[in-house]
Symmetry: C2
Subunit: 482 residues, 2 copies
């Protein structure tokens, strides 16, 4: 295998962004096809990114007073069917267990597509008095929604996520909690993944099956500038409380139904990270979630040089281990050039090159993955300089993503421009919409752009619907979406 | 609810140990029945214990050079059926998905009972040359084995575990890896859960379906002194390599089949922790995995006292937060006595009581859950004394469990004694066995005791089989098991 070949197989983003995505996932060993239709295998390098995301979100969830628990993978058909909108929304996507323990089941079991229908009945047992509220649980796990056209991380039959579920005494408290957890998602995605998002509310057509309101964070991907829904939080009102009988005795002596929320963030954010930051050379991982933050590539030719370099690398690793996730690439069947390409493909934020002459100068050459900037750093200063450099890279990557988002978002006041922008993959359109689902459907049918969200952060502004000219009090994001 | 009632509901261990187990799980809110037959809900307090176990095992697995990944939940029937012993062993326990996405499947999918049959085909793709070996992956997740008589943590239709899978160039390397991972289990269970175990090899009848050898760690539970298999590690030989085609080009230029291992430890160790350490007052959690290590119970009557105590508790929490997992019980609708009982039931290792007179003396009263020993500790010394106390409790609990194990293990040289010990729940019997499955079956049928393992750590000793009198070269543990 020549040095060049490794990266040649990766198609340029501009030539075919979707193919680039498939290529980079395969070549960086993030995921692989599986023999199970619709399912992927998440390989160690991809899973390590997700583990870092999990850690970063888990403490935020716990900090918000929510505890982890585990509820069954299966939901009997009759339980799933209790909330009418919910079953109508999910039924087409469900995988059904009909046999077990050598017998046909009396009633089919759904493999959970989401867990409201199994958690709410437990809440009904646990919530007796207002003193038992709020109930706030989260579970990390797998769910299944049928999928014929899988894309690794973005859309797979089985996927990995967390789903939080809460029950409250009042609608106001439930709504505040739904908003609070969405903000935890925003904070995690922006801080850890360096991806700016637009938080807002989904339209009626786009909301979760059974919800009163669905809140979302939407992120802009690279390449075609499509949107990716990156986390949602639902105010379920008392729809689930009523059908599953979550009743509690309130302070005032009355028995009332509880108000619920649910919120989920899945491993599709790994897909977002790939698409937002990657370039023609491969992945570009934000330091905070990169499994390897610093890769050291020792360079030597002769045996004596190896000894010199080895001794220096040992010292360097000792200094860096406590402050960064470090790997040394000691392979002797690969050239330095090959290694440079490979670690760039894998998106490691910082590469340190060290050869005999560097050792003599008591330095390493650091190369940033995001800017390719090369800087010599004294070995003595590494323990201070590397963490600072990683912080800088994280901040710069976030700024770059913010620039992309703002450069490809436009205020649009007429239908033709909106349609043209969708056709050109020019980015998001902020346009007035009257709220009529018919107008939303027309845009979707004709341009494939959908309403992504009604951003929270916008000035109230009277305007005319870009489709029908009707009255509108604010703008909506229209965009193509994954 | 009176103070007494809370603990009264817990039956004494000696009266009915199995009922005690059920009671303590319900009252300490570790798990709950679910509406799905055979499945339980693991509640936050129970899940937090499992999370601590996961952390403690995860770093040991990574330290051993194994990386986490994720493989599909489903296994097509034909793939599961490739290894004959494997499918024969698991078929009766499998849950089958036969419909999905609104259609009948062409081929049923098993919900994984274990993942050899889906991981080995991936290994076959990844292992081309000896340079690709060993392949070593682990996954944390859920598996399903049909179960009609569930017991929380010990035996549920869906359960939580990790399963590690490796592929190697030689049988020797695979065997060493299987032994190494068993030792990681032993170290984790002994160090973190304070449960002594006996590592050894399973008999042919008791080994994993498809394995060459199964290694196990066996722990003795309290009450009836039955055994609990607490972790197993399998040397799979080349059985799976051959049927799934894991072939690699070796150094010598020959194409060879790889040798596999798999090893799993499940959330049943939470059940073990409950049964080994608990007493009539409830749980007794080893400090290293206790979700709450120190509970502070402030005591006050008048408003002025509350202010004084509050101020001191704030100072105490500030000191303890960095060194222990601390909770303060500020509830004002429960008496101190009720709280003492409840936190004992929940097994919190250390309780700190603090009232106005303690504040005046700049002290707290610490009470150990394991010995009930009360000691005043100066507030100024808490940050040093509490971590030391937790270490002492951990060590003492391990010693107590070791005493139980040794007191209820006997060297037995005749069949009647073995049978009587099994009937009396007297403990484990170390007896000679010729290796003939017929003798093993006779013991099982007549006494319900099974061979738990052939301990690694025993002197070679010639003897006569306790059943047939035939030649034996070592002793086996016979015991009733959960």
């Amino acid at each position: 295998m020549t040095d060049k070949k490794y990266v040649e197989d990766l198609i340029d983003q501009d030539d075919d962004f979707d193919q680039w995505y498939v290529d980079v996932i395969r070549k960086a060993e993030l995921a692989d096809d599986s023999p199970v239709r619709g399912c992927k295998v998440v390989r160690p390098y991809g899973w390590a990114i997700w583990e870092n995301v999990q850690k970063a979100l888990d403490w935020r969830i716990k900090e918000a007073g929510v505890e982890n628990a585990a509820f069954p993978l299966f939901i009997p058909q009759s339980m799933l069917a209790q909330e009418a909108d919910h079953i109508e929304g999910f039924a087409p996507e469900v995988a059904w267990v009909t046999r077990g323990g050598g017998k046909d089941l009396e009633e089919p079991w759904a493999v959970r597509p989401t867990s409201e229908a199994i958690i709410c009945p437990m809440f009904a047992q646990w919530a007796q008095s207002y003193r038992d509220l709020p109930l706030m649980v989260n579970q990390w796990g797998n769910v299944v929604r049928w999928e014929d056209r899988p894309r690794a991380f973005l859309r797979t039959l089985e996927f990995y996520w967390q789903e939080g579920h809460t029950a409250h005494a009042t609608l106001e408290e439930a709504d505040a909690r739904a908003r609070q957890m969405l903000d935890a998602y925003r904070d995690m995605v922006e801080t850890e993944l360096a991806i700016p998002v637009v938080p807002g509310r989904k339209s009626e057509a786009e909301k979760f099956a059974g919800a009163l309101h669905t809140y979302t964070i939407e992120a802009m991907m690279g390449g075609k500038h499509w949107a990716l829904q990156s986390g949602t939080s639902h105010n379920l009102g008392d729809h689930f409380g009523k059908v599953y009988g979550i009743r509690f005795l309130d302070r005032d002596g009355e028995r009332k139904f509880a108000f619920n929320t649910s919120w989920g963030l899945s491993h599709r954010v790994v897909g977002a990270t790939i698409m937002v930051h990657g370039d023609d050379a491969g992945l570009k991982l934000p330091p905070r979630i990169a499994p390897i933050q610093v890769v050291i590539v020792p360079i030597w030719r002769k045996e004596g040089e190896l000894t010199t370099v080895e001794e220096a690398v040992t010292r360097i690793v000792e200094r860096l281990k406590p402050v960064a996730r470090v790997k040394v690439d000691w392979r002797d069947d690969r050239t330095a050039g090959y290694k440079f390409n490979e670690w760039e493909l894998k998106g490691v934020p910082v590469r340190l090159e060290i050869g005999p002459r560097d050792v003599a100068a008591n330095q390493v050459v650091s190369v940033r993955r995001d800017t390719r900037e090369k800087t010599p750093i004294s070995i003595d200063e590494l323990a201070d300089r590397i963490p600072a450099l990683l912080d800088t890279i994280q901040a710069d990557m976030f700024e770059a993503a913010k620039r992309m988002l703002s450069e490809h978002t436009a205020v649009v006041d007429d239908y033709d421009t909106l349609a043209q922008r969708a056709a050109d993959n020019a980015g998001w359109s902020l346009a007035h919409w009257c709220g009529d689902p018919a107008c939303e459907t027309k845009v979707k049918t004709e341009t494939k752009a959908t309403t992504r969200c009604i951003p929270f952060d916008q000035a109230e502004e009277a305007g005319s619907c870009v489709v029908c000219g009707g009255a509108s009090s604010g703008r909506v994001i229209f965009a193509r979406a994954y």
